[in-house]
């Protein structure tokens, strides 16, 4: 991890034609300015729903087809054409814009003497990223802490709500259930599957089935499972798999998503369904990394397959298990979509992240919402410290 940066002594960086002629200066700056203006214009174009039809009309005006221009201004384009034009412009602006800005700004930097150019260039490289990080993470995080202390009823009120309100106590209980059962379930099932698929022929195919839910959004998964949990009054045909099963053995159907505490478990199942594939992939790779000689030695010593798994494989992949568990832990701590889409936190299914969203977006209690965010941060912080320390140990960034 050396940071040996080439020095700037080479006199002819980018040995291009003569530098810093007035035309060169004017054109470089002009190009940058032009790109900024074009981007500004295209972004305001995207804000205007009539943008595409106006654009077409102007085009017809330009080529002298005034009649067609009037027609388009009057009736507009078909909605689908309109939408697709906006899509093409938006995607082109988003992708080309960022590259054009970098290239044009780099040209401007090239105007300086090589020494200064090499001093300035790093800031062109890290500047945009650092600026966005400051705007989207650093400033808001600090602001959220201060909002949690000053807004609504002040610090005491906000944190008293966050930590002692009956609704919040339910949320904490649920979050703990989510963290324990969700993380434990995903890791355990992932581990078992990883060990099992290691021994079948079509391993890749079997893995794909387990892994596929990772590509599905939590909203989509909530609908998928909402259908599994669907409840109809007794006597009606059950269209949800689970209640149809109960029906078949002569039991009354269960309203899975409305009955506490069953519903929280039902929601955790959705998360386990989504996350197990991730655990399986990482742990499967780790299991394959266990040296064959060790397994062979254990077999010669007369250990059976289960003992080998329990005593040899699991201990030697402990590191991966911890990585997987902490990652899923953090993901579950912030789980929002599943609860939001299925129950909206009703029927005792509230969790911290969903309540935070509701306080912010629905009730506009910014102080309370901020206090809840801080609670999340406090739980995540130990993991953050661990992460940074890990990196330092590897010698990065120190």
């Amino acid at each position: 991890m050396t940071h040996n940066t080439p020095t700037t002594k080479a006199p002819s960086q980018d040995s291009a034609a003569p530098r810093n002629t007035p035309t060169e200066i004017i054109s470089s700056v002009a190009i940058l300015a032009a790109i900024v203006l074009i981007l500004r214009a295209s972004l305001s174009f995207l804000k205007n729903p009539d943008g595409p039809s106006n654009l077409f009309a102007s085009f017809y005006d330009l080529v002298g087809a005034g009649g067609s221009a009037e027609a388009i201004r009057a009736s507009g384009l078909s909605p689908i054409t309109n939408k697709l034009i906006i899509a093409v412009v938006a995607i082109a602006v988003g992708i080309a814009g960022v590259w054009a800005l970098f290239i044009a700004a780099n040209r401007v930097i090239d105007l300086f003497s090589p020494r200064w150019a090499e001093r300035l260039r790093p800031f062109l490289f890290v500047g945009p990223a650092v600026a966005l990080l400051g705007f989207f993470l650093v400033y808001p995080a600090i602001n959220t802490i201060s909002t949690s202390i000053t807004d609504d009823g002040g610090a005491i009120e906000n944190y008293k709500f966050a930590l002692t309100d009956p609704d919040m106590l339910v949320a904490f209980r649920n979050n703990i259930l989510w963290l324990v059962l969700g993380t434990g379930g995903s890791v355990l099932i992932g581990l078992i599957i990883a060990q099992l698929v290691d021994r079948v022929k079509r391993e890749a195919l079997a893995k794909t089935f387990i892994f596929l839910p990772m590509a599905i959004s939590m909203v989509g998964a909530s609908v998928v499972w909402g259908f599994v949990y669907e409840w109809k009054p007794p006597g009606q045909p059950q269209i949800g798999v689970l209640n149809a099963g109960l029906d078949a053995v002569g039991r009354d159907p269960i309203a899975w998503l409305q009955t506490a505490p069953l519903n929280t478990l039902a929601l955790i199942v959705i998360m386990v369904w989504l996350q197990t594939g991730f655990a399986m992939v990482i742990l499967s790779a780790a299991i394959k990394g266990v040296p064959g000689e060790i397994l062979e030695a254990a077999r010669i010593d007369g250990a059976n397959e289960f003992q080998i798994f329990r005593r040899v494989i699991v201990p030697s992949i402990k590191g991966s298990v911890i990585t997987v568990a902490t990652t899923i832990f953090v993901a579950i701590l912030k789980v929002f979509d599943i609860v939001f889409v299925t129950t909206g936190g009703k029927f005792d299914t509230e969790v911290i992240a969903n309540r935070m969203f509701a306080e912010m977006f629905k009730f506009r209690n910014f102080g309370r919402a901020s206090a809840l965010a801080v609670v999340l941060l406090v739980v995540v912080t130990p993991i953050m410290v661990l992460n940074v320390r890990n990196l330092r140990r590897q010698g990065i960034g120190a």
Binding site: T2, H3, T5, P6, D14, L46, K83, L84, I86, A90, I95, V98, A117, P122, F125, V126, P128, A129, L132, L133, F136, L137, T144, L196, V197, V200, T208, I210, L212, P213, M214, A215, I216, S217, V219, G220, V223, V224, F227, V228, E230, P237, Q238, I239, V241, I282, T327, V330, M356, F357, F366, A369, A373, V374, I383, M384, V388, L391, I396, G397
Partner: protein, 298 residues
């Protein structure tokens, strides 16, 4: 999978039978688990092409008893959900949001990662430590101030606003992963490039970008899936107006407004799933590689 045919094949050789019967429980377990994991999605897919009335009155598995009865299958659920229920617009909006929100953070992160790895400048270690530290700041910590800032700056409900938000939130992980990759490129490479008179910019474009393609691809898939599947950022920064709502937000709206209309919900859910599933199946290898390299959003 095709267990029955296999038993016939190997029945003649007793050792193989023995071997097979030893492995049978594992195989059966794997097949069962794979089936269990796919069943919910299968039910959704089958239901989405059944007649609305059938869905409401019989389980989706009953359709499998007589699969060739053509009258029970239909595509009108899809035409309905794409048209009247606004999924087509939402689908296009998702593309508008997702493609730039994948390319922009990767571009910014690649530039930054290169600078952190190979350029000297004041504040480098501090800034890099900041990036790493921000890796696990929960999104929730940023929403309240940003909600207000976005209103002041009139960024709420604009594609630019949501691109930037996804970029900001995706950057720590992107910089971190790409740094891990770019800093491992051989040093000689840059030295010879600099002797040839190439600036850092040229070295970055000509050497680092092409060489980092595997890492860029892994992160791209990951960010693409993350943005496409996101609901929280879409709700907060983009909203649910039909001009900007993405598929996840639209599907959530449908759950609220048409909760019992399973023909709409199943087809709608499938519309939201098709792109990430295709991307995922097509590029699974890169995705797995990315996961193993630590592409996991906290």
């Amino acid at each position: 999978m095709t267990t029955s045919s296999k038993t016939l094949d190997v029945a003649s050789t007793p050792t193989k039978v023995q071997k097979w019967s030893q492995k049978a429980p594992v195989r059966i377990a794997v097949v069962l688990i794979a089936a269990m994991w796919s069943l919910p999605t299968l039910g959704l897919l089958i239901s989405s092409i059944r007649q609305p009335n059938d869905i409401a009155t019989s389980g989706w598995w009953t359709a499998l008893l007589h699969p060739f009865e053509a009258a029970q299958w239909t595509v009108t659920n899809y035409t309905d959900v794409l048209g009247a229920d606004g999924m087509f617009d939402a689908f296009v909006n998702s593309l508008i949001v997702t493609i730039p929100a994948t390319v922009i953070p990767i571009t910014l992160a690649a530039f930054a990662a290169y600078a952190f790895a190979w350029m000297k400048f004041p504040g480098r270690s501090f800034l890099f430590a900041m990036v790493v530290g921000l890796l696990v700041v929960p999104l929730q910590m940023t929403l309240v101030p940003l909600l207000q800032l976005y209103t002041d700056l009139e960024l709420t409900g604009t594609f630019l606003g949501v691109w930037l938000a996804h970029t900001g939130f995706g950057l720590p992980l992107a910089v971190y992963l790409l740094y891990n990759y770019i800093s491992q490129l051989p040093k000689d490479l840059f030295e010879s490039a600099h002797i040839d008179g190439a600036s850092h910019f040229t070295a970055f474009i000509r050497l680092v970008m092409p060489l980092s393609l595997p890492a860029l691809a892994s992160f791209a898939i990951f960010q693409f899936l993350w943005v496409w599947n996101d609901l929280l950022i879409a709700l907060v920064f983009l909203g649910t107006d039909s001009e900007v709502a993405v598929v996840t937000a639209q599907l959530n709206e449908l759950v609220g407004s048409r909760g019992e209309a399973w023909h709409i919900l199943t087809a709608g859910a499938f519309v939201t799933m098709i792109v990430p599933v295709v991307v995922f199946l097509g590029l699974q290898r890169f995705f797995v590689r990315g996961l193993l390299a630590g592409s996991v959003k906290g």
